[in-house]
Structure formats: structure tokens, C-alpha cells
């Protein structure tokens, strides 16, 4: 026999679940509503494939999508070997105290605000890149990718190290018993066993890179153009949202912001679905 108060509290708990769920969906719905004029004009698709020509009334976001994909994949490519190396050190290669120190540092780095990376990047990395390329302002795709790599590396390292730790101890004992070296243990036991965890770490880091605003906004130069080389300036979807809202609040350009938002939302949904599929695979093994 349940009391009325029990049912009331249970109702309240369920109510808050509903609110949280409605929130998630309404983020997308709001962008749909505000971008609706684009939909009814049948221009949503051309908006994504078109290029940006404000003079002719074209507000396509294709250059921003290209910029986003280029900067974030480059940063993952830079961060991956670094993260792998650090994970090898933490798990097997480094002596205990150094491994512990490295792991603590990595954990602490996850707490550093993004805006700090951008701020230091402007005054430390940008002049260096400017000297290196001998042209331009130094704010370019490479600059943003390098800083972004530093931002996402901790995510990857912690996830890799976590999946390495899940490798059964009996496997490792077997390698030791066969006289395997630490490097052999890493390459032939840890890597194959943790493959799905490694993929998850990469996808997670890619998601962080895609969604990050401040580093690209502060370091990539924000020129609207199809990126051609590493020293080119580029604008990401996230930076585009920030810049347009800050500057022209009631213009036709303004609508393109919601298209950017929808594209980013869809990236997130794809990311989450891939991560869940990988996790389910891990559980089934």
C-alpha cells in the first residue's frame, strides 16, 4: 500500500525527467522554427551546398562546413599520435611515479578553460606561425588545429588509458609468462583488445573539436572562403554563429546561423549514435 506522498514525489521525479527530455528536443525545434523561412523557401538544401556570396543574396554555409571539418580532423590527426604515446607511457613504458604524474597532469588539463588556450595562442603561437609561413597574419587553420589538438588530447588520453586498463590481467600475465617485452605487450595485446575503446576516444575527441568555439574564433582568422592550404584563414560553423549574432542581428545573414546550429546538432546526434554502437559492441564481447 503506497502513500499519497510517495506517489507525489515519484510524480515530481518523473516530471523533471520529462522537462530535461523536452529541453533536448526543444533545442532542435527552436532552431527549426527560427530557420523555418529558409525551409519554406526550399533553400535549406542549397544553403548547405551553396557558397557564401552576401552581395548576390546567397548565404550558403558550405565554406564554414569545410572549415569546421578540416580544422577538427587536422587537430585529431595531430593529437592522435601524441595521445597514443602518452597512453603507452602511462600504461606500460614509464616508471610508476612519472606515469602517475603524467596522468594527474592530463586530468588537470581537462579543467583548463578553452578561452585560456585561445588567449595564450594569440600571443604565443600566432607570432611563431607568422614567422614560420612568412606571410599572412599567423591566424590560420594550422594555428587553430595545433591549439585544438592540445585541448582534445587529454580527452583521448584518458579514454585510451581507461580502455587499456580494462584489458584482462590474465592476458598480460600470459605475455609475461611467454617472455614478451613491454612493447610487444602494447602492440599485440593492448592495441587489439582496446580497439573499440580507441575508436570511441577518437570520435569523442572529434566531437569536442567540432563543437569548440573559442579556439577557432580566436585563432583561425575567420575569413569566409573555401580553405585551400594550411596557412589559409578559415571560419568554422561555431565561429560563424558567434560572429553573426555579435554583429548583424537583424539581417538575412542571420538566418544562416540557424542552419549552422542544425548542422552542428546533427553532427552531435551522429556522434552519439556511433559512440553507443561502439559501446554496445564492447559489452557484447
Amino acid at each position: 500500500m503506497r502513500k499519497g506522498s510517495d506517489i507525489a514525489v515519484e510524480g515530481f521525479l518523473f516530471f523533471s525527467v520529462l522537462i530535461s527530455a523536452v529541453l533536448t528536443i526543444s533545442v532542435f525545434v527552436f532552431m527549426l522554427i527560427f530557420g523555418l523561412p529558409l525551409l519554406t523557401e526550399g533553400r535549406l538544401f542549397s544553403l548547405v551546398t551553396d557558397t557564401w556570396r552576401p552581395g548576390n543574396g546567397f548565404y550558403g554555409i558550405q565554406p564554414m562546413i569545410a572549415g569546421t571539418l578540416l580544422i577538427s580532423s587536422l587537430s585529431v590527426i595531430i593529437a592522435f599520435p601524441v595521445s597514443m604515446g602518452c597512453t603507452f607511457l602511462i600504461t606500460v613504458l614509464a616508471p610508476g611515479p612519472f606515469a602517475a604524474f603524467l596522468k594527474k597532469t592530463v586530468q588537470l588539463m581537462t579543467g583548463i578553460p578553452t578561452v585560456i588556450y585561445g588567449f595564450v595562442g594569440i600571443f604565443l603561437l600566432v607570432p611563431f606561425i607568422r614567422e614560420f609561413f612568412q606571410k599572412g597574419s599567423g591566424m590560420c587553420i594550422l594555428t587553430a588545429s595545433l591549439m585544438l589538438a592540445l585541448l582534445i588530447a587529454p580527452t583521448m588520453i584518458l579514454f585510451f588509458a581507461d580502455s587499456f586498463e580494462r584489458v584482462p590481467l590474465s592476458y598480460l600475465r600470459a605475455v609475461d609468462a611467454l617472455g614478451g617485452t613491454p612493447v610487444q605487450k602494447l602492440l599485440y595485446v593492448f592495441l587489439p583488445c582496446a580497439r573499440s575503446g580507441i575508436w570511441s576516444g577518437v570520435i569523442l575527441a572529434l566531437g569536442r573539436a567540432l563543437g569548440d568555439t573559442l579556439i577557432a574564433l580566436m585563432l583561425a582568422g575567420n575569413a569566409v572562403q573555401m580553405p585551400g592550404s594550411l596557412s589559409d584563414s578559415a571560419r568554422t560553423l561555431t565561429a560563424h554563429i558567434a560572429l553573426v549574432i555579435a554583429a548583424d542581428y537583424d539581417s538575412p545573414e542571420f538566418r544562416s546561423v540557424f542552419a549552422c546550429g542544425m548542422v552542428l546538432y546533427l553532427f552531435t546526434v551522429i556522434e552519439v549514435i556511433i559512440l553507443r554502437t561502439l559501446a554496445r559492441g564492447r559489452k557484447a564481447d
Binding site: L13, M31, L93, I112, T238, V272
Partner: protein
């Protein structure tokens, strides 16, 4: 596997590790060498006496105090919005949800956790426009809207930590109270929630850190470069991370730039401090302090 390969893998790993540590220490050393010496009372309060600024609401010009106060207010409001919603959602997911409901809702909350913060900011911005058009002309992007948006941003963290903390409770503890005749609700509130308090608390602290550091959300929802201390929930405000971003592109002289370094040092100390606090709590000290003392 030959000897050469062994050395190559080892060498590369050490090289990468050193590269990573060099990168991060470059940032830290640069920031602290420029900023730490510059942090003093004058930087925070300008020419206004500190006690007057804090207790008598005297305006501070050219100091960081309004930005620090704005960040603190923002954290307090958004976390107090997010805590009740996040914790009760977490409790429901862990204790009441059926298998199918759980997988559906956790898919939604995974998505909410993954949404880039700028998109959450865009949502807050359109919410402000929507409310302005349909409810009250007085609503513009402001402190309240920012606090709500930041709350949306951190709710999934609180949900996840609450849910995980509850699910990790050993079965023997879970069945003790019901065996003695406690109702499900009594079991939750007198046994399960107190037992998982450390996990929930460290989630909250991480959420505070996230609120304090996030720039993308607030720059779309009402933060401005100069506003003073906010007068009400519906006014504009300043915040530390936005101040750093603003200075990096708009600094007029060396003093302002120095303020930017100082603000960075303060923000980084705040965030790493919160991080350590969460770490210590996870180690179980808080549980002892709260329940064994």
C-alpha cells in the same frame, strides 16, 4: 619484432609524451610569468576601496571586480537551477526507469551532453527573442537567460554523475532498508542518496567549473564588456571568460592587456581549484566530513 622496432616504439612514445608536456608547460609558464605578478588588489578593484566595492555597491572602474562578481552570480544561479532538475532526473533514471525508457532517455541526455555550447547559446538567444515577442517587452538577453542556458549545458553532467553514483551502490546496501520494512522512497532518501553523496557532489563541482569557464554560451546570451555589477536578473553583466576574450582582440594599452593576463590567472586558479576539490571529494574525504563527524 626486432630490436630496432622496440627502440622505435619506446623512443616515439617518450618523444610524444615530452612534446605534450612541453606544450602544456609553455602555456602555463607563459601565463603565470606574465600574469601572476600583475594580480593585486588594485587590478581587481581599480581605485575604489575594496570594502566599499564589496559591501556598499560602489562602482568599480578599470578593475576586474564586476567580471568576477558576474561570474560568481552566474555560477550560483545556473547551478541552483540545474541541481534540482539534474538530481531528480538522475534518481528517476537509476531507480524507477524500465529498461526501454532508460535507454531512450539516456540517448536523449547523451545528445544534450554532446551539443556544442555555442548551439546551447543560440538556443538561449532564440528563447530570449521568443519571450520578448510573446511575453514581455522587457526580456532581452540577460543574466537570467544566461543562467538558464548554462543550466541546460550542465544538467546532463549532473544527471550522469547522480545516476552512476546510485547504480554503483552495492546490492547488499540496497536491500537492507527494504528488508526492514522501509518503503522504496525511504530507501532512496535515507540510504541510497546519502550513500552516493560523494559522487553527486563531485558532479556538482565539475558543473560549477563548467559554468565558470564557458564563454560561448554567455557571449550569445547577454554578457557585455562593461556593465558594472548587475542590478537585476534582467540586466546585462560582465564575466571573466568573456573579459579575457574581449581583451585579446580589443585591448587598447598595455595595462588592459596586463588585466587580461591577470584575469586568465584568476580563472585558471579558480577552475583548477574546483577540479582539485572534486578530486578530493571523490577520494571520499567529504563523505567522512559530512557523515562520520
Amino acid at each position: 619484432m626486432n630490436r630496432f622496432g622496440e627502440i622505435l616504439v619506446k623512443g616515439l612514445s617518450w618523444g610524444m609524451g615530452i612534446l605534450f608536456l612541453t606544450g602544456i608547460s609553455c602555456i602555463m609558464v607563459y601565463l603565470f610569468s606574465k600574469g601572476l605578478g600583475a594580480v593585486n588588489l588594485r587590478m581587481i578593484f581599480g581605485n575604489t576601496p575594496p570594502l566599499d566595492a564589496v559591501f556598499h555597491g560602489k562602482a568599480v572602474f578599470g578593475g576586474l571586480f564586476p567580471a568576477i562578481a558576474g561570474t560568481c552570480l552566474l555560477v550560483v544561479f545556473s547551478v541552483s537551477l540545474a541541481i534540482p532538475l539534474g538530481i531528480s532526473t538522475g534518481i528517476w533514471l537509476a531507480e524507477y526507469a524500465g529498461k526501454r525508457m532508460k535507454s531512450l532517455f539516456s540517448l536523449l541526455f547523451d545528445i544534450l551532453a554532446g551539443i556544442p555550447s555555442i548551439v546551447i547559446g543560440l538556443f538561449g538567444f532564440s528563447l530570449a527573442i521568443f519571450l520578448h515577442r510573446h511575453f514581455s517587452q522587457r526580456i532581452y538577453p540577460c543574466l537570467l537567460i544566461s543562467a538558464c542556458s548554462l543550466a541546460f549545458l550542465v544538467i546532463p553532467y549532473i544527471i550522469r554523475t547522480t545516476e552512476t553514483a546510485l547504480e554503483q551502490i552495492p546490492h547488499s546496501i540496497r536491500i537492507t532498508a527494504p528488508a526492514m520494512g522501509a518503503t522504496k522512497l525511504q530507501n532512496i532518501f535515507y540510504v541510497l542518496v546519502p550513500h552516493s553523496l560523494t559522487g553527486i557532489l563531485s558532479g556538482i563541482i565539475l558543473a560549477i567549473g563548467r559554468c565558470a569557464e564557458d564563454t560561448a554560451v554567455i557571449m550569445l546570451t547577454g554578457v557585455v564588456a562593461t556593465a558594472g555589477i548587475p542590478k537585476s536578473l534582467l540586466s546585462n553583466y560582465e564575466a571573466l571568460p568573456f573579459y579575457i576574450y574581449y581583451i585579446s582582440s580589443q585591448y587598447a594599452d598595455q595595462q588592459e592587456l596586463l588585466n587580461g593576463y591577470g584575469a586568465s590567472v584568476i580563472l585558471i586558479l579558480l577552475c583548477t581549484g574546483l577540479f582539485f576539490m572534486a578530486y578530493i571529494i571523490q577520494k571520499g574525504l567529504a563523505y567522512q566530513a559530512l557523515y562520520r563527524a
